[in-house]
Amino acid sequence: MILMFIPYDKATPTSHTQARSDVPALELTQVSARYPGTHQLALQEIQFCVKPATRVALVGPNGSGKSTLLKVAAGLLPLVSGTARVFGEPVGQMHARVAYLPQRGELDWKFPISLRKLVLTGRYVHLGWLRQPSRQDWALADEAIARMRLTDLAERQISELSGGQQQRALIARAIAQDADLLLLDEPLNAVDVTTREVVSQVLAELQQHGKTVLIATHDLDHLDTQFDAALYLVDGRQVGKTGC
C-alpha cells in the first residue's frame, strides 16, 4: 500500500529544487539569538552570508557562539532579532535541504540501534508521517555508508562505534538525506586519522557536487587550504565581515 506523503512540517517544501547559484545557501542579517530561559544573547548582530557550493569555516574559542550559529541556521533556535534565510527561504522551512550534525555528545549513543538504521533516519524527512522506508531508501543509506567506508560496521550497534566512526555515521546520514547545506559542529574533534582523511575527502567531493558545507572548527592550520572563507566569532560577535 502506497501512503500519501504527509510532511512532518506542513510549511516544508521537500522537493529538491536545483540550487540557484545567485541565491546564498545561508544568509544571516543582523541576527541576534539566545537560548530559551536565558537573558544573555549568545549571538549578537551577526551579518553573514555563505555562497552555494563553498566550504566555510566557523572559527572561535569555546563559547564564542559557533554551535549557536549552526543551530540558528538549522532552525533549532528562535531569533531575538534579524533574519535568517536558507536558499532564499526563512530558516526552518527547508528541512529536506539542511542537515545538522551536532557534537557527538548531543545524541544518545547508548540507544539500541544499528549504524545502518541511524543512517536511514536521514531519509525520514522525505518519507514524512506513517510511510515506511522503501528499498530505495535502504539502498541510499547503504550507498552513503559505503562512501564513508563503514560498510563492515553497518549492522553494528551505534554504542559499539568509536568516536570517529560515529562522526562518519552522522555524515553518512547527511549524505543519505541528500541535503544541500551541511552544518557540522566540530566534526574532526578528537577523531582518528582514517576519519580525518575520509571526512576531508568526502566533504571535498560534496562541494564538487554543489553542496555547501559550514563547519565549526578549532583547526586553524588548514583554513587557507581547505576552506573558501571563514567567520571568526568572539563572545557571540563576529570579527570582520564575510559577505557573498
Binding site: 512532518y8 528541512h95 551536532p102 539500541p112 524527512v125
Partner: protein
C-alpha cells in the same frame, strides 16, 4: 495431580480465564510501551502517572460513573499538565512530575477519606485481576489495540526522537508532540494495568519487564518482544501463585516480574564474564 493438571486446573473457572486474558493484554501493552519508558528514562513519570489517576478513579466511583473513564481523564490531564508545566523550562520536568504526582495522589486519598469504608478502594490501590468483568476486559482490549497500533504507526518517529531529538527537530519533526503522544499512551496503559496490579504497583509493569529485556538484547524490536514475553510469563505466574497460594494477585505479578529481572541480570553477568569484560 500431574503438572499438566496443575497448569490447567485454575482455568476451568471463567473468572480465571478472564483474568488470564486481561493479564496477557495488560502485559503486552505495558511491556511494549515500557521499552520506550526505560530507554527514554521516563520511569519516574510512569510511576507518577499511575498514582495521579487515583482522584479520577475515586471521583468516578463516588458518582457511579465508569471508573476507567475517570482514570483515563485524570491520566491524560496529568500527562498534558506535566508537558505544559515543564515546556518552558522555568520548572524542570522532574519537579513538575513531583508536584503533580504528590498533589493528585493526596487529592485521591482525601477523596477516599470522605467515604466511610476504605475497603471499597483497596482493589484500586492494590489491584484485583481476578475481579475483572467482561466490560473491563473489553476496555483493556481496546486500550491494548490503541497502544499497539500507535506504536507501530509511529515507530520510526518515536525511535528517532528517543535518541536524536536535534535531528528530529531539524527535519521538522516535533519531538514534544511525540512526547505528548507517549504520555497519553502511558496514561492509557496505566488505566489498563490498574485493574491487574493496582495504583501502587502499576509502574512496575511499565518498567521492570522492559528493564529486564534491555539487559538481554540491544535490538529494539527484539527488546519489545522479549519484554512482552517476560510480562506475560509474570502475569500468568502471578495468577498461579494467587490461585494455589491464596495470595494477592497484583503483588504476585509484580514479584514475578522482579524475579525475571533478577534472572536477566544474572544471565547478563554470566555473558559478560564469558566475554571477559
Amino acid at each position: 495431580m500431574n503438572l499438566i493438571e496443575l497448569l490447567v486446573a485454575p482455568f476451568r473457572y471463567g473468572f480465571m480465564q478472564t483474568a488470564a486474558l486481561a493479564g496477557i493484554l495488560v502485559a503486552v501493552t505495558c511491556a511494549t510501551l515500557g521499552v520506550y519508558v526505560v530507554l527514554r528514562r521516563m520511569a519516574f513519570i510512569g510511576d507518577a502517572l499511575s498514582h495521579t489517576v487515583l482522584p479520577g478513579l475515586v471521583i468516578a466511583y463516588l458518582n457511579q460513573w465508569n471508573i476507567f473513564g475517570g482514570a483515563i481523564v485524570a491520566g491524560v490531564l496529568t500527562s498534558l499538565a506535566i508537558g505544559w508545566l515543564s515546556r518552558r523550562r522555568e520548572v524542570r520536568e522532574d519537579t513538575a512530575i513531583g508536584i503533580l504526582f504528590t498533589g493528585m495522589f493526596a487529592l485521591g486519598i482525601l477523596l477516599i477519606s470522605t467515604v466511610r469504608s476504605f475497603r471499597d478502594f483497596t482493589h484500586m490501590l492494590f489491584g484485583y485481576i481476578l475481579g475483572v468483568t467482561n466490560d473491563q476486559l473489553i476496555t483493556i482490549g481496546v486500550i491494548t489495540l490503541i497502544v499497539i497500533v500507535t506504536l507501530i504507526a509511529l515507530h520510526k518517529e518515536l525511535e528517532l526522537t528517543s535518541f536524536d531529538s536535534l535531528h528530529a527537530a531539524t527535519i521538522g519533526l516535533r519531538a514534544d508532540w511525540l512526547r505528548y503522544v507517549l504520555l497519553v499512551l502511558m496514561a492509557l496503559a496505566v488505566v489498563a494495568a490498574i485493574q491487574a496490579v493496582g495504583v501502587v504497583l502499576t509502574s512496575a509493569l511499565l518498567v521492570v519487564p522492559a528493564a529486564a529485556a534491555s539487559l538481554l538484547t540491544n535490538r529494539l524490536p527484539k527488546m519489545m518482544v522479549l519484554s512482552s514475553v517476560i510480562a506475560i510469563a509474570s502475569a500468568l505466574a502471578g495468577l498461579y501463585a494467587s490461585y494455589y497460594l491464596d495470595v494477592a494477585s497484583g503483588a504476585s505479578i509484580v514479584l514475578a516480574c522482579i524475579a525475571c529481572f533478577a534472572v536477566a541480570w544474572a544471565v547478563r553477568a554470566v555473558r559478560e564474564r564469558r566475554a571477559g569484560y
